[in-house]
């Protein structure tokens, strides 16, 4: 059993310079992207020789706190309040800022989910902390500030794609603390849980009232069908490059012919080619197919983030410089409208 401590939230008991991870949960479970970030945070804390702590907010979340300990957290700070039961921007910001001010972690990380991207910038703004969005890797290392010539050691190196994926930028926060970053879901390895943990669960009563909730949720509509994509062995995905809804329907035919599932990028969903339940990427579903056929997809990292453990990727795009080709095993430089019917024909002719 983990040790459970109660504190008044003002102490500085052996917590300076920790690495913290926001643990997002919904329903009764933790989101996978939060656990991925926790896995990376353990590595970072290891190289800094400090503790890694998960931050949980909600009502009756001890089961989740214990789960976080199994996934590598050495401490879990629990902001326990019925007012924090469901996420809400303003009240979470208030509770988190107070906790961060009192315990002064070195690093604060969150998964770059919709919720993480709603919360982290508000906290950073309130604390005047630097925040880097959608990081695809994090390291501890040295970095030179090119403007001042000063070298910073044992600093968080925040790597993220820049300029449409043609470059990787390393961002640092030289002075402000905590060093904050959101992490692109799917870009870190999912940690393996251990069977038993020796970590601590530390309850900190948050100083929040009902009036701190500024948003009332009147109605919820669950998204459907995302699980189908996750289980699909073959996925035919289309992007904005498909041009029209009619062209996009060609992809459905190919998916049907191959016994696979059709999917889309955010841009294709935004263009109205297909419903949001088919969206793959940072703000859509994560998938792990054996075969991924990307048609008219440039390969923005927000989309690639949705492809976990890709098998074979075939890219079809008119632009030979599109980043999608850099992750593909097979590349067809051509117009998907011409290529897709050929794919359907060839597959049928080969007796499948």
């Amino acid at each position: 059993m983990p040790i459970i401590l109660l504190t008044d939230g003002t102490g500085m008991e052996n917590s300076a310079a920790e690495v913290w991870v926001y643990l997002q949960h919904q329903g009764r479970d933790m989101l996978e992207p939060s656990l991925e970030v926790l896995g990376k945070a353990c590595e970072l804390a290891g190289s800094l020789k400090v503790s890694v702590a998960g931050i949980l907010a909600g009502d009756k979340v001890d089961v989740l706190a214990e789960k976080a300990l199994l996934y590598g957290a050495q401490k879990v700070y629990v902001l326990q309040s019925r007012h924090l039961e469901t996420y809400s921007s303003a009240i979470y910001t208030k509770a988190f800022c107070k906790l961060i001010r009192s315990k002064q972690p070195a690093i604060f990380l969150a998964a770059a989910t919709l919720q993480g991207r709603d919360l982290a910038p508000r906290i950073a703004s309130a604390l005047k902390a630097g925040l880097t969005a959608n990081c695809t890797d994090l390291k501890i290392g040295s970095c030179l500030d090119q403007n001042t010539g000063q070298e910073y050691k044992k600093i968080l190196l925040q790597l993220r794609p820049a300029w449409g994926g043609t470059s990787i930028a390393t961002i640092i926060n030289p002075e402000a603390r905590p060093q904050m970053a959101t992490v692109c879901p799917g870009s870190m390895k999912m940690p393996q849980p251990v069977r038993a943990s020796r970590g601590e669960i530390i309850h900190i009563p948050p100083d929040v009232q009902a009036e701190d909730i500024k948003t009332t949720v009147l109605q919820r509509e669950p998204a459907s069908r995302r699980m189908d994509l996750k289980a699909a062995g073959i996925i035919v995905a289309g992007g904005a490059g498909m041009g029209t809804k009619e062209n996009f329907d060609l992809l459905r035919r190919l998916a049907t012919a191959l016994g696979g599932q059709v999917a889309a990028t955010r841009a294709a969903v935004a263009a109205g080619f297909i419903g949001p339940e088919y969206q793959i990427g940072q703000t859509g579903a994560s998938v792990r197919p054996r075969l991924y056929i990307a048609c008219g997809i440039s390969g923005a990292f927000q989309h690639l983030a949705g492809i976990e453990q890709p098998g074979t990727i075939i890219a079809v795009n008119t632009d030979p410089a599109a980043p999608i080709f850099s992750v593909a095993q097979y590349g067809i430089v051509g117009d998907a409208r011409d290529v897709v019917p050929k794919l359907i024909n060839a597959y049928r002719q080969l007796g499948h």
Binding site: D118, P121, R122, A133, G164, S167, T215, E221, V339
Partner: protein, 286 residues
């Protein structure tokens, strides 16, 4: 009572231009190679503002922070229908990260007086951080509704919006004033009005004027775009630009695009047939 709406707009490198080699050989950005455009998401935000004006009555003010040439997105905002446009430009703003940008924007918004709604796109197409909206909301100490797809209901004290969340969609209600970030699925931005293009195509911000040209003449014809610097909005220079930015770009490494790593398939029947034979041999379909 009409609503007072502020729309935050960013000028970004054109998306289609990203593959044209934006980096110079020394690794710095070749801005000249990148045509600049209206951030697409901010156009959805402006459309939402104009739609609210059509339905309920409102004044719509477009604001952008950027170099003098960013006035172009303000002209386009006026072509779409914005009532007022303000360019925030000052050398001291250069190099701002998202926090420093949010300080400049929120300080400028404070100069405008009372407002009901602040709208912006969910993220800019270049940095894709989605941070500036929430950071502005925090600086102004107001609530936020992010990833909004539709305004369901609006009255003088509150609004409710459908917003995208991890689990699907939710209808969320907030008191005014509130900051809303707008998803692309929210609407289709209206085309520029031909009448307004004719009327405002010669509108300029002072920073765009040729040396010696008089802003007064333009102002007399209603064609001078408002322009505010750090002093006008009352922000300390040390809080904006590079000095006000807690983050630094340590370095930028070009990605070694594994150009030869993939097998090139010819886009003809022969090439595609061979591709499938290979995939079948690899048991990809089993």
């Amino acid at each position: 009572m009409p609503f007072t709406i502020v729309v935050l707009i960013k000028q970004v490198p054109a998306r289609t231009a990203v593959s044209i080699k934006p980096m110079k050989d020394d690794g710095t950005l070749d801005r000249g190679a990148l045509p600049a455009v209206f951030n697409p998401g901010d156009m959805n935000a402006l459309e939402m503002a104009l739609d609210i004006r059509d339905r309920f009555g409102a004044t719509v003010t477009a604001i952008t922070m950027g170099p003098p040439q960013a006035a172009e997105v303000l002209r386009e905002s006026i072509y779409m229908g914005a009532d007022r446009a303000i360019l925030l430009t000052d050398r001291r703003f250069a190099g701002s990260d998202t926090l420093a940008t949010s300080r400049v924007l929120s300080q400028a918004i404070k100069q405008l007086g009372a407002f009901d709604l602040i709208l912006c796109g969910r993220e800019a197409s270049d940095g894709a951080t989605g941070q500036v909206g929430p950071q502005v909301a925090e600086q102004l100490e107001i609530n936020q509704l992010t990833y909004v797809e539709a305004v369901e209901q609006l009255d003088t004290v509150k609004c409710s919006c459908w917003r995208e969340v991890e689990t699907g969609r939710e209808l969320a209600e907030s008191k005014l004033p509130v900051l809303i970030t707008v998803n692309a699925a929210a609407n289709t931005p209206r085309p520029f009005s031909a009448k307004r293009i004719m009327r405002f195509k010669n509108a300029l911000a002072p920073a765009e004027l040729a040396p010696g040209a008089s802003p007064k003449a333009l102002a007399g014809r209603g064609l001078l775009i408002e322009q505010w610097d750090a002093d006008r909005i009352g922000i300390d220079g040390s809080l904006c630009g590079l000095s006000g930015s807690p983050t630094r770009v340590g370095k930028i490494d070009p990605v070694a695009l594994a150009g030869s790593a993939f097998k090139k398939i010819e886009p003809n029947d022969q090439g595609i047939r061979e591709l499938f034979e290979e995939l079948i041999a690899d048991h990809t379909f089993d």
